[in-house]
Structures are given as structure tokens and as C-alpha cells.
Symmetry: C2
Subunit: 324 residues, 2 copies
């Protein structure tokens, strides 16, 4: 069987993550990375092309993975590339996903290709489990917790505070609250009470640590409503303990299967690398996108629309024999 | 929109569980229970019919749920009923599922209906998560743990021991081993070391408790290879603490998203009622079976073949807005 020919669009943490996954996915061939930078300045273990050459290589690519940022890259690139390619993205602007989906759906149906949007883990796998848990337990409540993990947005925010040389913020879920849900207890879930924010900061020499802590803890929208801890560490400790991009989280649903009979459904992921895992999910959906396109099942899809068997390289017979 | 018209075949714990779910699923109408017993002797909150009347009511039923046992009922009934109905079952004889699937697939394609087989939680939801976790993390290991929960087969076995008046057996997973996997450690998983078996027994008056414990602990296939505990309790305690049929379990996959970067994927369910939850899963797949049949997507399916959106009564637009 010929391999699925894949292109990576954008070569930041996510694009590099996709490249790394291909050592584990032998049914996929990486044709190359496409970057807005001069290819000569990009060092990768696969061929690097300029974005301007992408459309010309249309015939060499079955699926392209959009690995740019959700703030501006994906909204700009996705509609343009969808005119030519089957695409997969991990667009994570929850509120904007429905409009994004509709816009790609129109193009994909017209161009007879496929777009799988908002893969990754949240949105993505977590969404999938919210749907499954709710469909099985219609009477119940779903709770999502994030962490322990690095929040890029909050880390950026603390790095903008005067006197902060290096900084990282971890979102930590309220384990006591999670345990209550596991135990079938009623809980009050608010985003702010359900998570705390722990910051590690390397201060500039002579900076006022108390002032930094105050500025961070009172920052509106980011920290003011949360339990916030600020720890000052030296740069060597920062480099040793805080260079990774771990993340994770929990989806829980507590529901009823009878008048007084409860069931708790729980999905947890614990990720050494957030972009690495997001990339791994995207690669599985790239396989699905390729197959859907080959079957003529065109249009935009989310994780809700893809039968799980499409994610695996195994045949339906193998799946039934080995995993059912 | 007209409701999905459902029939329950067999009225034991599972059939009663399905009946209970319908209070939570307002898009489904329960037409009746079909039993081999005299309908006059069956007390249910819906109409009860004799099995002999089932085929004659073909036009009144969109989907029938096979709620008999996997040992003999399902293998006998499924091929016969598939000639007339779209069916859903929770057939759980893992080794026999592939042949069962193929036999129903042939009938369903010929009769232009749908069979969704082996729903429930294991096989079923657990299978689904084994597939998803493996597709995302191809380099890794998957582990399944069952419990804490009542094993019917093992409970039956201890009730056959001389001197045992009442008895129940709980399968308990090895939590220390689960924690090691969560922590990303290498583990040796064997079924016998991964679970222990805890029995609660009410002995006949004057029975030799030491002899009962010995007979249970040395019972081949059932207990001999496991760490086994036998506790003797009085009948009132048994009635108070051991009348439910709780169960649960864990699917874990520890895998790699980079050379040295791990991710752990974990699904847990904690079920107040094993048949209640199995029934809840079957009802969600009944909705899917109805829709697949309406779309002309005939044949046998497993949980691997059903796009998650088919499980929910919500529209695709609602799902994307509320859950993605």
C-alpha cells in the first residue's frame, strides 16, 4: 500500500511535534515542511520548502497539517489552503470554531476535499469524551479541568511584568474537587475556584520581588480571580526544572443510570509535551482525512464526525480481533 | 420529530436497565418488552409481549435491543432477529465477536438493516478508548484493569461451594500498579498480579469456614492464581452492603510523543450499576443504529465504525457550539 503523503505548514513547536510523530507512524510519508521563512535558515530532518511553493506541489501531497497559531495563522491560511488541499488543524478558539467549520465546509465541498478542524486534545479528544459521556449519561453534569500544565498565555503575561527576566505559569486543577466528583458528590464548579495558578519567576537583579508578586496576583482576567502563587527561583533552577511544555487535564461526567444509581466517566491525559501530544492527535486525524477524501466523503468534519476506526492504520478485521 | 421506537428483548437485569434509561432519553419511545415468559407473569412499567409476537410487530419497531445473556441467548437470537430488525447488543464473548460480527453483517446487508454488536463498556467503550489511545500513541503499551466490581461468574462459583449460603466476589485492581503506569514507569502486567479477588460469604450454620476458604482459594482458573481474600459475614450485613451490582475499570496507555517524551491516556469508569451503565451505552448506540439504517448505511458495525455524533440527540450544529 502506498503511504499517505503529508505536508507540515509552519515549523514552530507544533510543526516540529508532527515531524517527531512520523517515526511512530510508518504508513505516513513526510514530504516536507513549508515555512514563510527562507528554507535555507530552517533546519529540519526533512526537506524544507517555502510557503510560496506549496500550491505548486499540490500533486505530491495528500494531506497538509496546519501547524501555525490559532490567533492569526489558521484563520488566514485555512480558507486559502482548503481551495487546494485536504487539511487538518488544531484550531483552538472555541467560540470561533462553528464559523470556521462552516467556512471550510463550503470550500471543501466545492473543491471535493476534506477539512478536519479543531483536532488536538481540547478542543479535540476532550470534546469527543464530553459528547460520549453526555450521550450515555444524559442526566448528569460534565466538568473539564486543565493541568497540571504550562499556560502559554499566562506565561507571556507574567513575562511582560517589569523586573521579570524569565517566567512560567502552571495551571493546577483542584484535586479535592475532582475527588468529590469521582466520589459521586454534588459540587459547585467555577473556573476560578477549580484551578490555581502557580508561577515561577527569575527576577532581574535588584528587582522588587514583593512588587512583582503584587502585580501578577492582581492582574485582571489572568490572575486576580484565582488563587495565585509566585515563587522566585534562580536561572539555573529555571532551566533545569521549567524548560518543558507539559500539560494535561481531566474530563469528568457524573450522571445517573437509574433513579438513585450513579456512574462516573473520567478521561485523563498527562502529557510530557503539550505540542507533542497535539501533534500526535493531528497525525491520527490526518490518516482519517486521507481516507474520507479517498471515499469521496467531502466537506468539513470535527472529531465528532469521524468514526474511530479511521484513526488507526489497522484493518477493521484486525481492530475487531485485537482491540474489541 | 417522531421518536425512535424501541423494543427490549429479554427482561433480566439488562433489559430492566434499558427500561430505566428511557426516562433520560426523550427522543426514544419504548414500545415494549418481549419475553419468553408468559407476559401476564412479567411486571414492567411498559407493555409486555411474548417473544412469539415480536416478528408480527416488525412495523412498530425501529430498533430492538438484545438484552439476553452472551452465553446462549445472543448467539441464538441475534441471527434470527437480524432477518427482521435493526439490532443492538452487548455481546461480550471477546473471542467470538469477529465471527458473530461477520454472521450478522451478511444478514444485515441482505435485509438492509443494521446490527451494532458488542456495545456496553468492555467490550464497547473500553475498546473504543483502546483504539483511540493506540492510534494516537502508536509506540506504547495499553493496560486494562477491571473493578472494583462484582464478577457474576466468580460469585456463581463461590455459591456452588458446599457450606456457602450467600456469596459475592469483587474484582479489585492493583492500584499501586495503576499509579506506576500513570507516573510513566515500566510495569509488568499479568492478569493475575493486576487484580485481587475479595469474597464475602454467608456460611450455612455449622459450616467449616476454614474448609470453605480453602476450597475457594484453590479453585482452578477462578481463584488459584490470584491473591484471594474470603470474609465471612452475617446475612443482614450481606443484604445491607452487598446487594448492588457495582463495577468499573480503567484503560491506560503509556506511550511516546517524542524520543523521550511520554504521554499517559487514561479512561476510568466507576459504575453504581454494571447492567444499568451497559444499558445506557446500548441506548446511545440504539440511536446510532436507527440513524445509520435511515441513511442506508447497512450491515454490522462495532463501536469502532460509528461516528460519535450519531450517539447524541443533539444536532451537529449544537454539538459544535456546546461541546467542541
Amino acid at each position: 500500500m502506498s503511504k499517505i503523503k503529508l505536508g507540515i505548514i509552519g515549523y514552530g513547536n507544533l510543526g516540529k511535534g508532527v515531524e517527531e510523530q512520523l517515526q511512530f507512524n510508518t504508513d505516513i510519508e513526510l514530504i516536507g515542511v513549508f515555512s514563510r521563512r527562507d528554507p535555507k535558515t530552517v533546519s529540519a530532518s526533512c526537506p524544507v520548502f517555502h510557503m510560496d511553493d506549496l500550491v505548486g506541489m499540490k500533486k505530491d501531497l495528500d494531506v497538509v497539517l496546519l501547524c501555525g497559531g490559532s490567533a492569526t495563522d489558521i484563520p488566514e491560511q485555512a480558507p486559502v489552503l482548503q481551495e487546494h488541499f485536504t487539511t487538518v488543524n488544531a484550531y483552538d478558539n472555541h467560540a470561533a470554531i462553528p464559523a470556521h467549520f462552516n467556512s471550510l465546509d463550503e470550500i471543501a465541498r466545492r473543491q471535493k476535499n476534506v477539512a478536519i478542524v479543531a483536532t488536538g486534545w481540547d478542543p479535540g479528544l476532550f470534546s469527543l469524551n464530553r459528547l460520549i459521556a453526555e450521550a450515555i449519561l444524559p442526566k448528569g453534569e460534565t466538568y473539564t479541568f486543565w493541568g497540571k500544565g504550562v499556560s502559554q498565555g499566562h506565561s507571556d503575561a507574567i513575562r511582560r511584568v517589569a523586573g521579570v527576566k524569565r517566567g512560567v505559569q502552571y495551571t493546577i486543577p483542584n484535586e479535592a474537587l475532582i475527588q468529590k466528583i469521582r466520589d459521586g458528590k454534588e459540587v459547585v464548579y467555577t473556573k476560578t475556584a477549580s484551578h490555581k495558578r502557580v508561577c515561577y519567576v527569575v527576577a532581574d537583579e535588584g528587582a522588587d520581588e514583593a512588587a512583582i508578586t503584587h502585580t501578577i496576583s492582581t492582574m485582571k482576567d489572568y490572575f486576580a480571580d484565582y488563587e495565585t502563587e509566585v515563587h522566585f527561583i534562580d536561572e539555573a533552577t529555571f532551566d533545569r526544572d521549567h524548560s518543558g511544555i507539559p500539560h494535561g487535564g481531566h474530563v469528568l461526567r457524573r450522571g445517573y443510570t437509574g433513579e438513585d444509581t450513579q456512574a462516573v466517566y473520567e478521561l485523563n491525559v498527562n502529557l510530557g509535551s503539550n505540542p507533542g501530544f497535539t501533534a500526535a492527535v493531528m497525525v491520527a486525524y490526518a490518516r482519517a482525512a486521507f481516507r474520507l477524501a479517498r471515499e469521496g466523503n467531502y466537506g468539513a468534519k470535527s472529531v465528532f464526525d469521524v468514526a474511530p476506526s479511521y484513526l488507526s492504520p489497522k484493518t477493521p478485521e484486525e481492530l475487531r480481533k485485537e482491540l474489541l
